[in-house]
């Protein structure tokens, strides 16, 4: 807890605030890939749910086939919290799984430290949209393959190839239910964000 206190105090003074700095990491990926499970595995609180209500008028492209009677949609985002210190609080947001809610992603992605795209080897295509999204916006992200018990195991390189990932995007295997594994995934995201920010700063310095 004593670690780096002076730096933090300085940073806080710079911001002129007495409340903690809040940060966020996004947990993205297809429906049912284990986003909320991962958030729950490391969060100090039971994952909470926040919702935004959409009306049909506002979102004409909503695909309501089969549920035509429903004229409103609720988009839910599950999130958790990790208090790093008195001055730093990290929030983890599970992004809405459906591709059509990009506009909510934009809000979520604003100011995010980074993201992890969870992938399931049985449905790799489900993670394409999230990978594209973060690539295009230059948001540092990693890919974590959630190893489901009944899924066939593939070497990381095979998955990387199948996802057509850039070399510098870290890819790991994880078990979203395991606290230690989920924690390592998050450490990987922040380490990648750190490398990303260092790489961005370098050309400017020379």
């Amino acid at each position: 807890m004593v670690f780096g206190r002076s730096e933090r105090a300085k940073a806080r003074k710079r911001r002129g605030a007495s409340e903690p700095l809040t940060l966020k990491i996004l947990v993205a990926g297809g429906f049912g890939v284990g986003k909320t499970t991962l958030v729950g595995a490391v969060s100090e609180i039971r994952p909470l749910r926040t919702e935004e209500a959409l009306t049909e008028a506002g979102r004409p492209v909503d695909d309501l086939a089969g549920v035509e009677a429903k004229s409103t949609t609720t988009v839910a985002m599950d999130f958790g919290r990790i208090t790093i210190s008195d001055e730093l609080v990290l929030y983890l947001f599970g992004t809405p799984g459906q591709d059509r809610f990009w506009f909510l992603w934009d809000e979520l992605a604003q100011g995010a430290l980074g993201a992890v795209v969870l992938a399931d080897t049985r449905r790799l295509a489900d993670s394409f949209a999230a990978i594209d999204y973060f690539e295009r916006r230059h948001i540092p992200f990693t890919v974590a393959v959630n190893c489901f018990d009944d899924a066939e195991e593939f070497p990381a390189e095979t998955v990387r190839e199948a996802l057509d990932l850039d070399e510098d995007v870290p890819l790991t295997l994880c078990d979203a239910r395991e606290r230690a594994s989920a924690r390592d995934v998050l450490v990987g995201v922040v380490e990648h964000a750190l490398a990303h920010s260092a790489a961005r700063r370098e050309p400017a310095a020379t």
Partner: protein, 152 residues
């Protein structure tokens, strides 16, 4: 003829926005309150710190037993909706993010944002400035997050 007004899907959406008197946008200049912006409510009489100046060691949280007197000002304010009061009293106990308030009050984000905007206008709460979107936090902060996570 009246059936259309009882469309079940209309319920959960329309009702929360009735709390905001139909407003879907917050009136504050801080316009879009970030999901992780912290809402802070200072105690009446100034300061978030210990209320008794002679007792500097007192914990910052309100003693739960004293709630009736602690927040009597907002409870007595009849211009505030119960949801406004709940936001103020929760945030006086500890700063809460916009997302946490939305979850705690079980209201859509848009509604909570409008309510928070009202309270900012009335100076009952203030909102922390999140990290500017274009800026990533300092590397020292990222390092601290890493070591904090590793210690979990």
């Amino acid at each position: 003829m009246t059936d259309r007004w009882f469309d079940d899907a209309a319920g959960p959406v329309v009702r929360p926005y009735a709390m905001t008197r139909g407003r879907t946008r917050s009136s504050t200049e801080e316009a879009k309150l970030d999901l992780i912006a912290l809402v802070i409510a200072d105690r009446p009489g100034g300061g978030t710190g210990p209320r008794d100046p002679g007792d500097a060691e007192a914990p910052e949280e309100a003693p739960t037993g004293a709630e009736g007197t602690e927040d009597s000002d907002v409870h007595a304010d009849r211009t505030l909706a119960p949801e406004h009061v709940e936001i103020v009293t929760r945030c006086r106990r500890e700063p809460l993010s916009v997302a946490e308030l939305s979850a705690a009050l079980d209201l859509p984000l848009g509604v909570v944002r409008v309510l928070i905007g009202d309270l900012v206008d009335r100076s009952l709460v203030r909102v922390s400035r999140p990290v500017p979107p274009a800026e990533l936090p300092d590397e020292s902060i990222l390092r601290e997050v890493i070591s904090g996570l590793k210690a979990l």
